[in-house]
C-alpha cells in the first residue's frame, strides 16, 4: 500500500533528495488509517508549513484519511496571478 506525495516550493527543502518530477512514493502499509497530517509528519514536513492539502486534485482537510493509490499534494501559502 502506497501513496504518491507531491511537494511544492519550500516544502521540498524539508525532504532531502526529493524528485520534483516523479514525486515520492510513500509506503503506508505499516500505518492503518493514516491522515494527511500524520503522513506529513512521517515524511518530515512540519504542520506549520502546510497551508493547502490536495488529495487526488481536490482540496482536503488535514484530517482526511489517505488510501492506497492516492496522490497527496502539500503546499505552503502560495499566490500569484
Amino acid at each position: 500500500m502506497s501513496v504518491l506525495v507531491k511537494l511544492s516550493t519550500t516544502l521540498r527543502d524539508c525532504v532531502p533528495g526529493y524528485d520534483p518530477v516523479a514525486g515520492m512514493e510513500v509506503d503506508i502499509s505499516e500505518h492503518g488509517g493514516l491522515s494527511a497530517e500524520a503522513l506529513a509528519a512521517v515524511i518530515g514536513i512540519p504542520r506549520t508549513e502546510i497551508k493547502i492539502v490536495m488529495v487526488n486534485g481536490r482540496q482536503s482537510a488535514l484530517s482526511t484519511v489517505v488510501r492506497d493509490g492516492d496522490r497527496v499534494a502539500y503546499f505552503p501559502a502560495v499566490g500569484g496571478g
Partner: protein, 579 residues
Amino acid sequence: MFRFLRVNMATKSCVFEEIPAEYAGLGGRGLTSTIVAREVDPLCTPLGPHNKLVFAPGLLGATNSPNGNRISVGCKSPLTEGIKESNSGGQPGGHLAKLGIMAIIVEEMATEGEWWQLEVSKDSARLVPSTVAGLNNFAAVEKLVEQYGKGCSYVSIGRAGEFKLTAASIAFTDRELRPMRHAGRGGVGAVMGSKGLKAIIINPEGGKNHPLADEAAFRDASKRFAKALMDHPVTGKGLAEYGTAVLVNILHEAGGLPTRNFTSGQFEGHENVSGERMNQLTKERGGEGAVAHGCMSGCIIRCSGLYPNKQGKLISKWPEYETLWCFGPHCGIDDLDLIAHFDHLCDDYGVDTIDVGVAIGVAMEGGGIPKGDGKAVLEAMHGISEGTALGRVIGCGTATTGRVFGVRRVPCVKGQSLPAYDPRAVKGVGVTYATTPMGADHTAGYSVTANILSCGGVVDPLKKEGQIELSRNLQIATASVDSVGLCLFTAFAILDVADALPAIVDMLNAKFGWQLTGDDVVTLGQRILSTEVDFNRRAGITEAADRLPDFFQDEELPPHNTKFDITHEELKTTFNWIK
C-alpha cells in the same frame, strides 16, 4: 500642484489644465474610466480620432506607500470594442505622480505615417518628431536613453503598436530602464499607434512627493501596510522567491491548468515550466539572473525576478504565470528558456503575452502552426515585427486568429482571450471572465484566491455555489485597488490580514484629509464598475456578451470532468446593484 496634461495629436498642442471638479478624488482606473466614459463617444472607431488614450497614476502615487506607483491606461479598446483599463508597473507612474500630473489625455490623431514623441517635464510638455520610429521597444528605449538620459522614464510602443495590431501593448521602463513592464491587455498599444504617438519621455526632475494632510498619520498607516505585506507569506516571501510562476504546479494539481487549447486541465511537462524550476535555474546560472526584483520604486513584494540563459546573460524578466502557461502548456511546449525568449519578444515587439500566446495555441488547433513546435512559434513571433501575414494575425490576438483558422474552440469573452485558469475547474474566475466589462481578465476579480489558494476564505472551485458572490466582491475591491495605484498582489495581504485595508484607508485619509471608511471603498469600486458597464451598454455591448464560449458548457474538462454550469441568468446577478 495637481493637473491634467491634455495632448492633441492633430494640432500638437500640449496644455496643462486644472483638474475639473467632476474628476476630483479619482485616480488610476477610477480616473481613466471616468474620463473615457465622459469624453469618448462609445460608438467611435477605437483606432480613429474620436478615441482618447488616458494615462493615470493612482491616488497613492508619489507617496511613501509601499507598492503604490502603478499606472493605469484607459481608452475604448480595439480588441473588445468596450471600455478598457490596463495597468502596469515600472517607473513612469511614480514619475508622473511626482510631477503632479494626475492624467495625460491624448486626443485626435497625427497625420497618417507621422510619428511623434511626447516630452514631459515639470513645467513643460511638447510633441517632437520621433527619433525612434520603426524600432522595437528595446532598441527604441536604448536610443531614447542616449538622447534624454538615465534620469527619465520611458513609455513606448513596438512595431506591433505601429502596425495597430489589436493585441499591441504599451511598454513602461523598469528601474533599470528596460521596457519590460506592460499595459498588456486590450490593444492599448494599437490606440497609441493610431494616434501617431511612438513614445513618452518623462523627466521627473524637480518633481516631489505629494503633500500630506497629516504626515504623522500617513507615516503610521504606511508602516502598518508595509507590515501587513511583509507578514503575509505570499507578499512577504513567496512572490519574491518564485514569482507568479509558482501557480503552475498548484493549478496543474488542481486540474485547472488549461492544456492544449483548453482540452485538459493538466500538463505532463508542468514541472519544467514551474516557478520552482525557474528559481532553481536562476540561482544555478547566476550571471545577470536575479531572484527577488522589484519593477518599480517602492515595491517591497519584488516578484519580477530576472531569468538568465545558460551563459548567465539575461533572457527576460521572469515570465509571469500567464505567459509561461500560454506559450507552455497551452501550446504543448515545456522548454523554459524558449518561453522566456518568447516573453522577451512580446516585450520587444510590444504585444500582450496572453492574447498572443493563446492565439498561437488556437492557431495550432486550426492547423496554422504545427502543434508543440517551438521553432515554428519563434518564426511566427518574428513575423509580428516583420509584418508578415501570420504575424499580423496572431498579433491581433486570439479572437482574430480563431476566425482566420476556423477554430471552434476559441477561448475569448468580448474578444479578449481567457487567461490561465480553466473556468470549468476554477468556476469563480469563470464568473469574472464572463462578466467583467474588460473582456476575459483574471485580474478583474481574482477568484483563484478562495477557489485554489485558500486566501480570503475557501470556495470549492468545482461547484457553482458561492462563485457569483465571490467574483462580485473581488471585482468591486479590485476596481478600488486599481484606482489607488496599488499593485494587485497587495490583495493577498488585504484578503488575509485584518489591518491591511484599514491601513490603506488611513493612508488615503491622511494624504487627502478625507474621512473615508471601508464602506466607501466598496462604494467607489461599485461606482467604477457601473461607469464601465454603462459605457459598454452605450457602445452596444449588452448583457448577452456576459457569457463564456459554449464549448465550456458542452465539453467536460479532465481530470475532474466538470463543465461550466453557471447559467446566464445566474451570471446576470453578478452586478446586482446595477438596474
